[in-house]
C-alpha cells in the first residue's frame, strides 16, 4: 500500500472529523435554534466529506480496514489533526473563531486540492468546496457580528482570537508524507497560500474591530500525533459505542 498517500489522506480527513465532532457537541446546546442548526449542518457536511476520504483510505490500505475502523478505532497518538480543531467549545465566540480560522484555510486548501493529480482527491475537493464556501460565509459573518457587536460579544471574541491565534501556524506545517505528496503533484503546497491566509484572516478581524495578536511562538504537534489534553476526552466520547460494542452497526 502507498503509505504516504494513506497518511496524507488521514491528515486532511482528521481535521474535518475532529472539528465535525466538536460541532456535533452543540446539537441541542447551541446558543439559539438557528446557530445550533447551522453548527450541526456544518458538522454533517464535514462528516460527509470525511466518509469520502476514509472510504478512499480504506481502499488504499486494502487490508480489511473500513471507513468506520479508521474513524473510530485509532488511539489518540494516531490522530493527526491540527491542534486548532480539537480546542473545546468554551463559548460561542470560541466556536466561531475556531471555525473561521479553519474555514479560511480549508477553502484555500480545497481550491488547490481540486487540481491534484489524484482523481479521487480532486473529485472530493470539487464536491466539498461548494459546502465549505457556505461554512466560510457563515463564520466570517459571525466574526463581524460579534466583533462589531456589544461590549460583551466583542470582548469574548477578542479573547477567543487571542487564545486560538497560536494554533494557526500549524495549519501550514508539512510532514514528510505531505512533502512527498506535494512533490508528486498529489498534495497541496500549503506554503504557497500561507501569506494569503494571514492576510485574509487579518482583514476580516480588522473589519470586525478586533486586534490581531502579535505572536512569536505558535503551538504545534497535532500533525505528529502529539495533542492537547482536550483530544483524549473528545475521543473517549466519540469512540464510546464502538469500543463498548465492537462491530456494532446502526
Amino acid at each position: 500500500m502507498n503509505n504516504n498517500l494513506y497518511n496524507y489522506i488521514l491528515g486532511i480527513a482528521d481535521n474535518s472529523l475532529i472539528l465535525g465532532q466538536r460541532l456535533g457537541e452543540l446539537c441541542g446546546h447551541g446558543p439559539s435554534l438557528e446557530t445550533d442548526i447551522a453548527c450541526t449542518n456544518i458538522s454533517l457536511d464535514l462528516f460527509g466529506q470525511v466518509r469520502s476520504y476514509f472510504q478512499y483510505a480504506a481502499q488504499i490500505a486494502n487490508d480489511g480496514r473500513s471507513e468506520d475502523t479508521i474513524a473510530m478505532l485509532r488511539t489518540e497518538r494516531q490522530y493527526v489533526n491540527v491542534l486548532l480543531v480539537e480546542q473545546p467549545n468554551v463559548d460561542f465566540a470560541y466556536t466561531i473563531t475556531r471555525q473561521f480560522l479553519f474555514d479560511v484555510y480549508h477553502y484555500k486548501f480545497l481550491v488547490q486540492l481540486q487540481k491534484s493529480n489524484d482523481a479521487t482527491l480532486a473529485a472530493i475537493a470539487k464536491k466539498s468546496i461548494k459546502e465549505v464556501s457556505y461554512h466560510l460565509r457563515f463564520s466570517s459573518d459571525w466574526i463581524k457580528r460579534l466583533g462589531d457587536g456589544t461590549e460583551d460579544s466583542h470582548n469574548r471574541i477578542q479573547n477567543a482570537v487571542n487564545d486560538l491565534w497560536a494554533y494557526t501556524d500549524e495549519l501550514f506545517h508539512q510532514t514528510p508524507a505531505d512533502k512527498t505528496m506535494i512533490a508528486e503533484g498529489i498534495g497541496v503546497d500549503t506554503l504557497k497560500f500561507k501569506d494569503n491566509y494571514f492576510k485574509e484572516a487579518t482583514e476580516v478581524l480588522i473589519e470586525a474591530t478586533l486586534v490581531v495578536p502579535d505572536l512569536e511562538y505558535f503551538q504545534k504537534g497535532g500533525k505528529e500525533g502529539v495533542h492537547t489534553e482536550h483530544l483524549g476526552y473528545l475521543l473517549a466520547e466519540m469512540q464510546y459505542m464502538q469500543r463498548t460494542y465492537p462491530n456494532m452497526k446502526w
Binding site: 442548526i37 469520502s52 464536491k127
Partner: protein, 167 residues
Amino acid sequence: MAAEQPHIDKRLTAVLGTVSDPEIPVLSIMEMGVIRSAIINEAGVVMVRITPTYSGCPAMDVMGEDIIKALNEAGYKAEVNLVLSPAWTTDWITEKGRKALEDYGIAAPLDEVADKAVLLGNQKLVKCTLCGSTNTKLISQFGSTACKALFQCEDCREPFDYFKCLK
C-alpha cells in the same frame, strides 16, 4: 451541457420516477438530478449511478435502498453506486422539479450571484412561497437540512425554506 445530461435507459424512467427524495417527498429523484445513469447490463442487472447532493446528506443511503426496492418490485435486479464526479449542482434540478419544490413551500434556488446576495442579507430576491412577495428576509443561512436556508416573508409573515444554490 451535453456532458452533464444523465444517461438513463428509457425502459427505466417510469420506475425511477416513482422514487422520491425522502426529505422532500414531492420531488422524484429524477427531477432532483441525483441519478446520473441507469443502464441494463448484459446480465440483465440494472446499474444505477447516483451522486450526492451534499456530502453528508443522510438521505443518500435511503435513496439507494429505495431505488433498489423499486427496481426489484418491477422485476429487475439492481445495483447502486455513488459517484462524486462531476459534483452535483442545483442546476440539475429540472423545471418540473423546481415547480414541485415551490408548490411544496420551498423556494427554488436562485442563480449563484443572486444566491450570494440574499444569503449575506444584502438583497431581497427570494420569493415567498405563500404570497409571492419578494419582501422576505433571511432568518438563518442553515435550515432544516443541509441544502436549505430559512427565510421569512415580511408581508404575510410566512416562514419558509429556501433551497440554496450549489454550484
